[in-house]
C-alpha cells in the first residue's frame, strides 16, 4: 500500500531504545532526514533494567560516545542521582565513572533531546517486514500495511523481536513487561538466509522503598566531588543526590528460593536461550555456587522523587510468590512490598558475524543492525552500536568512506570487532579485560583519542575540539615543567612518610612521579611556588599529565604492540577468497573463515577456533 503520509527518508531507525536514540540523533546531526519508528512513543529512552549508566568498562564507552559527539553521556549527566568513580584504588586505566539515574527523567531527557532536532520525524507503530529490491533494503512495511521508503534502515529492536516473558510457570508474549513484542522481522530475514538465535536476560523485582528498613543495611554514598560523563562543561543535574544501600542474602533466603526452584523456567528447560554468565539470576547463583553462604544485594533508588526501589543482584524468573517469600528474609526487607515482580525475557538475536565492520548486514545492503539484536547486553553497548550504525549508514548513502574504530583506539572498536569476528553465544557485555590495549583506552583520554575524529565527521562541536587542544597543550607543558623541576633532599621527609626510598642525588619531579607511592599532590606540596604556578592549568590537564607520566612505560609498551598488530590489520583478504580450496586449513578454521569472511588477517586471527597455523597458511597464500 502506497501512502501519502510519508515522503522518502534518508534513514529509518526501528526502535527508540539506547541504540535507536543514538542512531537517530547522530544521523540527523549529520543532516540525514530520519524517521524513528517505535511501538510506543512513551517509552523512548527507557531503562528497561537497572537505573544506572556506566561502571567498569561501560563507563569508558559512555565517555567515548560523548567524545565523538553522541548523547548518552549528556542524558545520563542530566538525570544523575548519584555519581561514583569506581576502581579509584586501581590504576588510571581502571577508573570507571558510574551514575545512578532517575529512570523517568532519563527517558524524558532523551525524548526532549530527539525533539530538538528538526531532522527527526517520529511514527508510533510496529514494523512487520523490510521492502527489498535486489538484495537492497529500500524501506519498511508496518503493521498497518504502510510502506515507508528510505535509503538505509537501522534495526534496533532490542528484546522485542518475538520476545517472551517468563515468570515461574507462566509465560506470555512481550518485548518488556507491559509492552507488546514485535513479530515478522525474524521470519522474513531467516527466510533470506540470516541465522537467528535466542537469548535470555532477566530483571529483578521492584520494591516499595517505604517498606524497607535501611538501618539494617550499609549505606553507599556518591562521591563527595561528583564528576560527570560529558566532556562538555557543566552538564550538571539539578536533581537531589541519593544513596544506594547494600545488604546480603542468607541461608533462609536461599532455602525459600530452593522451595520454588522446580518452577523455574530455566531449570525445567522452557527457556532455551542463553543467559549471561556474569549477570545470573539469584536462583542460578545459589545453585551454581551452592557453597556460597550469602550474595550481595544492592538496593538502588529508581529516581529522585519516586519511592520505587530496584533490587540489584536479585534478578529472578521464579514465581512471584517465591520471589516475595525469599525477599522478605533479606535483612531490611522484612516488611517489603513488591511493586513489580522480576522476570526473564527470551528474544531473537542475529549472530553478529553476519555483519560488516560498519554494522551493515552482509546479506542485505543498506540494512544495519544495532544493539541487543546483535547479541549484546547493556545500555552502553547498545548506544555505541547505534552511534556507529547511524554514522556509517549516513556515510554510505552519501558515498563516503566508512568510519571504523580500531581495537587500539576505543572500546567501541573492541566491541564491534569482537562481535563481527567472534560472534557470541551469550549476551555480550564489555569488560576491560576484553581490550588488549586497555592502558591506552582510558576514560580520562577518550576526548584526546576521539574528539578530533568526531569533529572531522561533523559531530563533535568546535568547542569540544578547542577544549581537547587546550588539554593536550597544557598537559605537554606540565610534563615538560616536571621534567625540568629537580628535587634534592628537601623532598626526603615526604618520601619517608610515603614509605619510599629517599634520594641522595637530585632527581626530577618527573622521575619521582613514576614511583607507585607518590601522587602529584605530594610533589606539589614540596614546592609551593610550583603549586601556585600550576593553578593556571585546568585540573583535568594536571590529572592527564600525572597519568601520562606515571604509566608512561606501559603506555609505550601498548603503543608498540598496537603498532605491531597494525601490520596484520592492514593485510586485507579479498572478499571472494575461496577458503574451501585451501587444503592446509583446519576443518574448523576453514568453516569459520568461510562463514565470517574476515576483511583482514588481523580480524581472521581473532576468530575463535582459528589457530596460528591457519594464519600462517593464509599468510603464505597471500604471498607473505
Amino acid at each position: 500500500m502506497s501512502n501519502n503520509l510519508f515522503k522518502k527518508y534518508d534513514i529509518i531507525v526501528i526502535g527508540g531504545g539506547h541504540a535507536g536514540c543514538e542512531a537517530a540523533m547522530v544521523a540527523a546531526n549529520l543532516n540525514s532526514k530520519v524517521l524513528m519508528i517505535t511501538m510506543n512513543m512513551n517509552t523512548i529512552g527507557q531503562m528497561s533494567c537497572n537505573p544506572a549508566m556506566g561502571g567498569v568498562a561501560k563507563g569508558q564507552i559512555v565517555r567515548e560516545i560523548d567524545a565523538l559527539g553522541g548523547y548518552s553521556g549528556i542524558i545520563a549527566d542530566k538525570s544523575t542521582i548519584q555519581f561514583r568513580m569506581l576502581n579509584l584504588s586501581k590504576g588510571a586505566a581502571m577508573w570507571s565513572p558510574r551514575t545512578q539515574n532517575d529512570r523517568m527523567r532519563f527517558a524524558e531527557e532523551w525524548r526532549l533531546q530527539l525533539e530538538t532536532n528538526g531532522n527527526i520525524d517520529f511514527w508510533q507503530e510496529t514494523v512487520k517486514q523490510f521492502i527489498i529490491e535486489r538484495n537492497n533494503v529500500i524501506g519498511v512495511k508496518t503493521g498497518l500495511g504502510i510502506e515507508i521508503y528510505a535509503d538505509a534502515v537501522i534495526l534496533a529492536a532490542g528484546t522485542f523481536m518475538n520476545g517472551t516473558i517468563h515468570i515461574g510457570e507462566k509465560s506470555f508474549s512481550g518485548g518488556r513487561m507491559g509492552d507488546r513484542a514485535s513479530m515478522g522481522i525474524t521470519e522474513q530475514l531467516s527466510s533470506l538466509g540470516f541465522v537467528a538465535g535466542k537469548m535470555k536476560t532477566g530483571t529483578p523485582p521492584r520494591i516499595d522503598g517505604r517498606t524497607l528498613n535501611y538501618k539494617l543495611m550499609e549505606e553507599q554514598k556518591g562521591d563527595k566531588v561528583a564528576e560527570q560523563f560529558s566532556f562538555l562543561e557543566n552538564v550538571k543535574t539539578d536533581l537531589k543526590q541519593k544513596s544506594c544501600f547494600i545488604t546480603y542474602t542468607n541461608k533462609s533466603v536461599h532455602q525459600e528460593l530452593l522451595k520454588g526452584i522446580d518452577k523455574s523456567p530455566m531449570f525445567c528447560g522452557r527457556i532455551k536461550g542463553f543467559g549471561p554468565r556474569y549477570c545470573p539470576s539469584i536462583e542460578d547463583k545459589i545453585t551454581r555456587f551452592a557453597d556460597k553462604e550469602r550474595h550481595q544485594i544492592f538496593v538502588e533508588p529508581e529516581g529522585e522523587q519516586t519511592v520505587e526501589i530496584y533490587v540489584n543482584g536479585f534478578s529472578s524468573s521464579l514465581p512471584e510468590d517465591v520471589q516475595y517469600k525469599s525477599l522478605i528474609k533479606i535483612p531490611g526487607f522484612e516488611n517489603a512490598k513488591m511493586f513489580r515482580s522480576g522476570y526473564a525475557i527470551e528474544y531473537d538475536f542475529f549472530q553478529p558475524t553476519q555483519l560488516k565492520n560498519t554494522l551493515e548486514t552482509k546479506i542485505l545492503e543498506n540494512l544495519y543492525f544495532a544493539g541487543q539484536i546483535n547479541g549484546t547486553t547493556g545500555y552502553e553497548e547498545a548506544a555505541c552500536q547505534g552511534l556507529m550504525a547511524g554514522i556509517n549508514a549516513h556515510l554510505k548513502i552519501n558515498k563516503k568512506a566508512p568510519f571504523i574504530l580500531k581495537r587500539s583506539e576505543a572500546y567501541i572498536g573492541v566491541l564491534i570487532d569482537d562481535l563481527i569476528n567472534k560472534g557470541t553465544d551469550e549476551p555480550y557485555r564489555m569488560f576491560t579485560s576484553r581490550a588488549e590495549f586497555r592502558i591506552l583506552l582510558r576514560q580520562d583520554n577518550a576526548d584526546i583519542r576521539l574528539t578530533e575524529k568526531g569533529y572531522n565527521l561533523g559531530l563533535a562541536s568546535k568547542n569540544r575540539l578547542d577544549n581537547v587542544r587546550i588539554k593536550i597543550e597544557e598537559t605537554n607543558k606540565i610534563i615538560s615543567i616536571l621534567k625540568k623541576k629537580k628535587f634534592s633532599s628537601e623532598i626526603n621527609s615526604i618520601l619517608k612518610e610515603k614509605q619510599t626510598s629517599i634520594i641522595k642525588e637530585k632527581q626530577s619531579a618527573y622521575k619521582l612521579l613514576k614511583r607507585p607511592e607518590l601522587k602529584i599532590e605530594d610533589i606539589l606540596n614540596c614546592d609551593l611556588d610550583l603549586k601556585t604556578s600550576f593553578k593556571e592549568y585546568n585540573q583535568d590537564s594536571l590529572t592527564q599529565a600525572y597519568i601520562q607520566i606515571k604509566y608512561e612505560n606501559y603506555i609505550e609498551k601498548e603503543k608498540e604492540l598496537a603498532q605491531k598488530t597494525i601490520k596484520f590489520e592492514e593485510l586485507s583478504i579479498p572478499s571472494n577468497f575461496v577458503y574451501t580450496k585451501v587444503k592446509g586449513l583446519s576443518t574448523e578454521g576453514r568453516e569459520k573463515l568461510n562463514d565470517i569472511k574476515p576483511p583482514t588477517i588481523g580480524s581472521a586471527s581473532r576468530i575463535s577456533g582459528i589457530s596460528a597455523s591457519d594464519i600462517s597458511i593464509l599468510l603464505l597464500y597471500l604471498g607473505r
Binding site: 604492540l561 580450496k581 596460528a612
Partner: protein, 455 residues
C-alpha cells in the same frame, strides 16, 4: 577468487650432496608424474598405480643419461600430500645435475630450502612446531637429537606451552577479577600466593632455557676445547678420543690429518673439538700465540678439557681461577699417568673435578668419556623433559622470562593489577607466537567458571 598460491611442481636432490653409490631426486606437485614421464624410457608412468616402483632410463633426446628406479606416489598419500615422484639414480654429480636440469626443462622448478616441508605444512600435514621439528629431525644425526625432534614432532613443546599458558591464564584471571568485578562481593587474590606461582613458573622456564644449551649442543654438537701447555699430550689425547686404533701420532708436525673439525659421538652426543688444527699443527706456534688466544678459544666452548703433565709439570702451580671464572664446565686432566710424579698425583687426588689418564697408554679414557657426559649436566631422562633446540623458541622463552620477572618485581612493589596483567599478557602473546593463540575469552571463561559474578 581462487587462492593464488603457486603450487607448481618442485624438484630437488633429496639425498646428501656429494657422491655416493646412489642418490635420490624428489619431485612434488600436481604435474610430477607427467614431468618425469616425458624424460623416462620404460613404462608409461602416468598409467601406473600409486606406491609402485618402475625400472627404466632417463633420456635426453636419444642419449641415455642413467639407469634409474622411479617411485610413484599420488595425492594425498605422500609426504607433501601432493603427487610425488622419487628417482633413484647413480650418485654422480654429473648425472644428478643433468636429471634435475631435464626436469626443470619439462616444467619443474628447483625447490627452495625446506620447501617440501612447507608444502606438507600448507597441505595440512602438521602444525607449525611440528614443521619445525621435522626440520630438526632431518638435521639430527645422533640418537638424542633424534629423540628431541621426535618428541617435539609429537607435540612435546606444544604440550609444555599449553601448561604454561593455563597457569598464566589462571593467574591473570585472579587479577582480572579484581579489575572488572571490583564492585562484586568476591575475595581477591593473595599477593604472596601469586608471587609463589610466578616463582615456580620462572624456575621452570629457567630449566627450559638451560636446556636449550643442551638442546642446541645436542643438535649442533658440543664444542669442546683441549687446552694445556706444549708437549702436555693434547694431540695424543685428541687422537685417542677420536679413534684409538686409527690414531697416528708422530713427532713430526704435519703428519697428523688436517681436519677442519673433529667429532666423536659419546652415548649419542656429538662432541666437536674446536680448533683442532691448531693443536695438530706446528706445536711451537701455540707457544708463541700465548694465553689470550687460548682464552678466546675457551670462551667458545661448552666443555673445557684442561690438560696437565703429571711427569714434568708441577700441579701446585696451576691457577684454576682463570678457568672457573669462565663459568663453563671443565675437567682437569692429569696426563702421562704412566710416568707420573708422586706429588702431582697427591694433588690430583684432592681435586674432585679431575681425572688421571694416560693418553699414550689409553688408560682411563672410558672414564674420561663418562665424565664428559656427566659434566654437561645431561640428564639421561631427556625424554621426559621438554628440550628446546630451536633458536626461535629460545628467543621467545627469553622474552617470556623477562616479562615474568617484570611481573614479579611489580607484585613485590604492590603495583596495581592492570599493569601486572599487562606483562602477563605480553608473556601470553609470546607463548602464542610459538603455537596456538591467546584470546581474552579464555580469561573470562576462566573467571565465570570459578567465581560467582554478577548483580
Amino acid at each position: 577468487m581462487l587462492p593464488k598460491l603457486e603450487l607448481n611442481t618442485i624438484v630437488a636432490l633429496a639425498s646428501a650432496q656429494g657422491s655416493g653409490a646412489i642418490s635420490l631426486i624428489r619431485l612434488s606437485g600436481k604435474d610430477s608424474i607427467e614431468i618425469i614421464n616425458k624424460i623416462f624410457k620404460g613404462k608409461d608412468l602416468t598409467k601406473q598405480k600409486p606406491n609402485t616402483i618402475h625400472f627404466g632410463f632417463i633420456k635426453e633426446e636419444n642419449e641415455v643419461i642413467d639407469e634409474v628406479l622411479v617411485s610413484i606416489f599420488k595425492a594425498p598419500n605422500s609426504f607433501t600430500k601432493e603427487n610425488s615422484v622419487e628417482i633413484t639414480c647413480h650418485g654422480s654429480s654429473y648425472i644428478i645435475q643433468k636429471i634435475i636440469e631435464l626436469l626443470i626443462k619439462q616444467g619443474a622448478r628447483l625447490a627452495a630450502p625446506g620447501e617440501f616441508t612447507k608444502r606438507a605444512f600448507i597441505n595440512g600435514r602438521f602444525d607449525l612446531t611440528q614443521a619445525e621439528a621435522i626440520a630438526d629431525l632431518i638435521a639430527s644425526d645422533t640418537q638424542i637429537s633424534h629423540n628431541i625432534a621426535m618428541n617435539n614432532l609429537r607435540g612435546g613443546i606444544s604440550k609444555k606451552i599449553n601448561e604454561f599458558r593455563n597457569q598464566l591464564i589462571n593467574f591473570a584471571s585472579l587479577l582480572e577479577l579484581e579489575l572488572d568485578f571490583s564492585e562484586e562481593d568476591v575475595e581477591f587474590a593473595d599477593r604472596n600466593q601469586l608471587i609463589n606461582i610466578i616463582n615456580e613458573l620462572t624456575k621452570e622456564i629457567k630449566t627450559i632455557l638451560d636446556g636449550f644449551k643442551l638442546g642446541n649442543a645436542v643438535k649442533k654438537g658440543v664444542p669442546v676445547v683441549i687446552v694445556g701447555k706444549p708437549n702436555v699430550g693434547k694431540s695424543t689425547l685428541l687422537n685417542v678420543l677420536l679413534n684409538e686404533e686409527r690414531a697416528i701420532v708422530s713427532d713430526i708436525p704435519g703428519t697428523t690429518r688436517d681436519f677442519i673439525e673433529d667429532q666423536i659421538n659419546i652415548e649419542g652426543i656429538n662432541f666437536r673439538f674446536v680448533d683442532t688444527a691448531g693443536i695438530r699443527k706446528a706445536k711451537d706456534k701455540i707457544e708463541a700465540i700465548g694465553i689470550d688466544r687460548t682464552f678466546e678459544k675457551m670462551k667458545k666452548a661448552s666443555l673445557i678439557l684442561y690438560l696437565l703433565d703429571l711427569e714434568n709439570g708441577n700441579a701446585q702451580n696451576i691457577n684454576l681461577e682463570q678457568i672457573t671464572n669462565l663459568n663453563i664446565p671443565y675437567i682437569i686432566i692429569g696426563n702421562k699417568l704412566d710416568k707420573a710424579n708422586v706429588d702431582n698425583i697427591k694433588y690430583f687426588n684432592k681435586n674432585k673435578d679431575s681425572l688421571l689418564i694416560s693418553a699414550y697408554k689409553n688408560q682411563n679414557i672410558d672414564k674420561l668419556k663418562k665424565l664428559m657426559i656427566k659434566k654437561l649436566g645431561i640428564n639421561q631422562n631427556y625424554e621426559s623433559h621438554t628440550i628446546i633446540s630451536n633458536a626461535r623458541h629460545y628467543d621467545i622463552f627469553i622474552k617470556i622470562n623477562q616479562s615474568l620477572n617484570e611481573v614479579l618485581s611489580n607484585l613485590k612493589q604492590n603495583i596495581t593489577s592492570e599493569l601486572i596483567v599487562s606483562d602477563i599478557r605480553i608473556a601470553l602473546n609470546y607463548l602464542g607466537e610459538i603455537t596456538g593463540e591467546i584470546t581474552t575469552d579464555d580469561l573470562l571463561d576462566n573467571i565465570f567458571s570459578k567465581f560467582c559474578i554478577g548483580k
